[in-house]
Structures are given as C-alpha cells and as structure tokens.
Symmetry: C2
C-alpha cells in the first residue's frame, strides 16, 4: 500500500494554491484526496470545482464548513439554516459525503453554554434529513476548549457525540481532529464510542505547537513538530473501525507565508507518510 | 455581611503594587485577604512578608505556586522536589494553609501525557506528608487545555481529582479557577465530588475574554467582561460545601500596564462585589 493511500490534503493547509494548482500538485505528488473549503470553491464556482477534481481523479473527503448554529435571533437563525442547506448542496455537488460543522460560539453577551448547545441540536434536527436525502453526513467537529466562547461551544468529543446520538448515524456524526482533542483523557473512549455507533465520519491530523499566536487560529503545527502522539490517535481511530482518509488540516501562518505551495504539499506529504508508517507498523 | 467579606485579591492581579503598597491598599479598601506569589514574596523576604501581612490583619488565602513535577531527568526531578519543599515552608511561614500547584507540561520532545501525569503522582506521594506536617495542603490546579503541553498536563477538574484522591484530603486537594474549567460540562459534577471529599481547597475567579493574546498567558478578563457565568460557578462551589475565600487572579497585560494599582484594586473589588451579590442573592 502506498504511504499516501489514505492521505487527504485539506485545502487550507496550502491555501496559497488555487484549485487548479492544487489539483495539479496532487497529481504530481500522488495525493489521492482533498478536503475543500466553501469560500475558495464558491469563488472558483462549485460546478467547475466539482468537474476539476473529478477530472483530476481526486476524492473529496470533506467540505468545510457548515455550522454556526448558536444565534438566538430568529432571522439570524433562519439565515444560518439556509446557508447550511446551501453548504449541503455544495457538498453533494462536489461528490463528498461529509460536511464538517463548526457549531458556533456564544452570542455576544450570552453566557449560557447549555442553551447554545441545545440550539445546535435544534438546527441538526432540521438539517439532518435534508442532508441525508442528498447523501451528505453532518460531522460535528469538537473544537479545542480555547474556542468555546467565540467559535464552537462543543469542546469535547463526548459533547459532540451527546449531540450526534440524538439523530440517525446516517445524518449526524463527528469529526475527530487531533489538534482539538489530544489533551483529553476521555477522548480515547469517545473514539471507540464514535466508531461503534458508525459516527466517526472523518479524521484529521494537526500537531500542537507553542507559543500559540495571538487569536490562536493560525498556530497548528506541521505533523511531527509538536506535542501530539499522532500515531497513537491514528491507531485509536483505526481500532474503532475507521478506514477512511486521514486529512491534514494546518492553519499555519508560517506555511501560508511561503510562496511555493507545492513545496508545502511535498513536505506535508512526507510528514504524513512518516506518521502513517508509525501508525500502521506491526507492533 | 460585607460584600467583600469573602474577597481575596491575588497579588498577580495588581502586580504593579509592592507588598507594602498592597497591604496598604487592602486596608484602605476593606479587602480582608490576599493570595501571594513566591517570587515577589522572596524578593521582599519571606519572614518580612509574613510580618507585613500579619500586622495588616490580612489573611493569606494561598501561596502560588509549587509544582512543575513532570521532568524525567532525575537531577531535575530532585531540584523540583527540593523547591517544592521550600515552597511548603514558605506557605507555612506566611500562615496560609494552601499551596497552589501548577503541575508542569510535557518535557521537550516527550508526547506521553499519561506518563507525565504519573510523575505528578510520584511527586505528590513524596511531598504530601511533608506538607501535612506543616499544616499546608497541596491544591492541584487544573489548567485550561491550551496549557497542556507547556505548563500543566492536568487539564480538567476530573483529572485533578483522580490524582488528588490517591492521597489523604488533608494533603492533596484541588484549586478551582473559573478561567480554566468554565467550558467543561463535567466540571459541575466534579465540583460536587471535590466538595464531598473535602478537597475543594480554594476557588478563584477570572473571566474569559477573546481574542486571546500571543502566548495566551496574559488575557484573563476582569470579572464581568467575558463569557463566564461567574455567579453560576460560585453557587456550585458553595453548594458543594465551600465557604472559604474567593480569590481574584487576573493575568491581564492591560491591567498591569496601568500605573495606579490601587485603582485596579478598587475596580476589581467592585467587580467582585457585583458577582458576590449575584451569587448569593436569594433565588
């Protein structure tokens, strides 16, 4: 098996590449899959992007991202639901079965975390059937607790599964990203729970490096540069029955500042291959 | 009851104040208690500091901080244990019964969180009896998961209690700080667990504001400025049987940059009184 057979490069890791450049670089490097983001896809045109990746023989593992379900204001909630239906449509057009959800933070001035989590459930109830009809699964991504106020009130895999399990597994599951869950001693058991329930929809890798940058959004480390035992988590998701692609999603201002995105892809593929070898080595 | 009767000002909140200035400002404002830090206390002289606060009629609620137990290197571990014995001695001299522990992060290049947590337990086994003989309790402070790699591998109250409960409650308990645990839906049950076991050694308040600054150390929000329902957590610790001081510990570069530390103390006391009123209002 090729060391890159399960590799998917998330578009944000090499955001300096246009979609055609990304498809080209993947072909050149033998990268079989990509995770896409809505904004650059819409900029290029959703149909055109779908054709581009199809022609390049690339699998689209996920579309990022839907979500932001926590508004209280009815008009804002309606807009969010409409936008998520559009995201589901886009995922279907792109041929991916997984829409990653960043669920949303606390509305300004609001301190009610359980209430915000309940509004996420309300949105999932509305969107789940719509997604299922289009062959798309919603993947709740628990985000690191440092994003709890402004980005995602779902901070642990356990919380994500508590939400997901209210709905059929064909509609709602979870996205496991090492960057967000690596510190959590309950996460291994929750990965097993996700796998047993058929809800482990996608698995992403990023490493944890410090110091964190201001705003803590763009400091995800290249695989191997940080504190996370990535192969350990890979083995856990595989033991839970996951056999899908492993996406590398690095928000990293250092990588983004580099001119040659294809070179960043090459390095990331190498780092990925090293983790893959460690994760799948006979023990 | 005075609105400040349970107020303790942690020295770091008003670090621009020297110890005599702090004692003076507390007297002026009717602040009955302080949490002290080792570095400024040692600079002033431990005996002299003890006399100063005693003469001012101030209660010393905690000494910050011991810990940093996660080194692998034997010489480094020995130094850490020696330093913690000194910290315990200092706490006893200052007349406080609580030494707050920041347990330590991962050693460079090490990715083994469970191993690091086990080394903390080893250190506690050695230090617990020493502390108890001197009337000092060790309070493990779970730090927010964003500090897991470089500062404290104990990221949740549950983890802290798992460690503490291996030892007598007179030796090892926990420090509950809203800043570190507010996102955790398991924390309310863990507060009850801590209270039931007599291990809720101290309670600290700080608010959560964003964006986080680079390095994420100096962005703790003034009470009321952020996303945390502080009164909710206060009621939880009281319901768990806690009746001690409530310390306000703000690492906040904005507050530190202000020339008039006494004015920062005044504002903090006002913010505290507002939270206290909300927390203790008849419902």
């Amino acid at each position: 098996m090729s060391p890159l057979s399960r590799f998917s490069i998330n578009q944000m890791t090499v955001r300096q590449l246009s979609l055609p450049e990304l498809a080209n670089a993947c072909g050149h490097r033998g990268v079989p899959a990509v995770g896409l983001w809505r904004e650059p896809v819409r900029e290029y045109g959703v149909e055109a992007a779908a054709k581009l990746v199809r022609d390049a023989g690339l699998t689209v593992t996920t579309l990022c991202r839907g979500g932001f379900f926590t508004a209280v204001d009815p008009a804002e909630r309606r807009r969010a639901l409409d936008d998520n239906r559009t995201a589901i449509d886009e995922a279907a057009t792109l041929g991916t079965d997984t829409l990653v959800l960043v669920s949303g933070g606390l509305p300004a001035g609001d301190k009610d975390l359980p209430g915000a989590r309940e509004r996420i459930a309300d949105a999932l109830a509305e969107l789940g059937p719509y997604a299922q009809e289009r062959g798309v699964r919603l993947a709740i991504e628990p985000l690191h607790p440092m994003y709890a106020s402004d980005r995602c009130v779902v901070s642990t895999l356990g919380q994500a599964l508590d939400l997901a399990e209210r709905f059929p597994a064909e509609q709602v599951g979870v996205c496991v990203d090492t960057y967000h869950i690596w510190w959590d001693d309950h996460a291994p058991a929750q990965i097993a729970r996700a796998g047993a329930g058929g809800r482990l929809h996608t698995f992403q890798l990023a490493d944890w490096t410090t110091p964190l940058p201001e705003g803590v959004l763009t400091g995800r480390g290249q695989l191997g540069d940080g504190a996370i035992d990535l192969a350990y988590w890979w083995r856990l998701v595989d033991a839970a029955g996951y056999s899908g692609s492993v996406e590398v999603e690095l928000f990293n201002s250092g990588l983004w500042a580099r001119e040659d995105g294809a070179e960043v892809l090459r390095e990331t593929a190498e780092s990925f291959a090293a983790v893959a070898a460690e994760a799948t080595a006979a023990t």
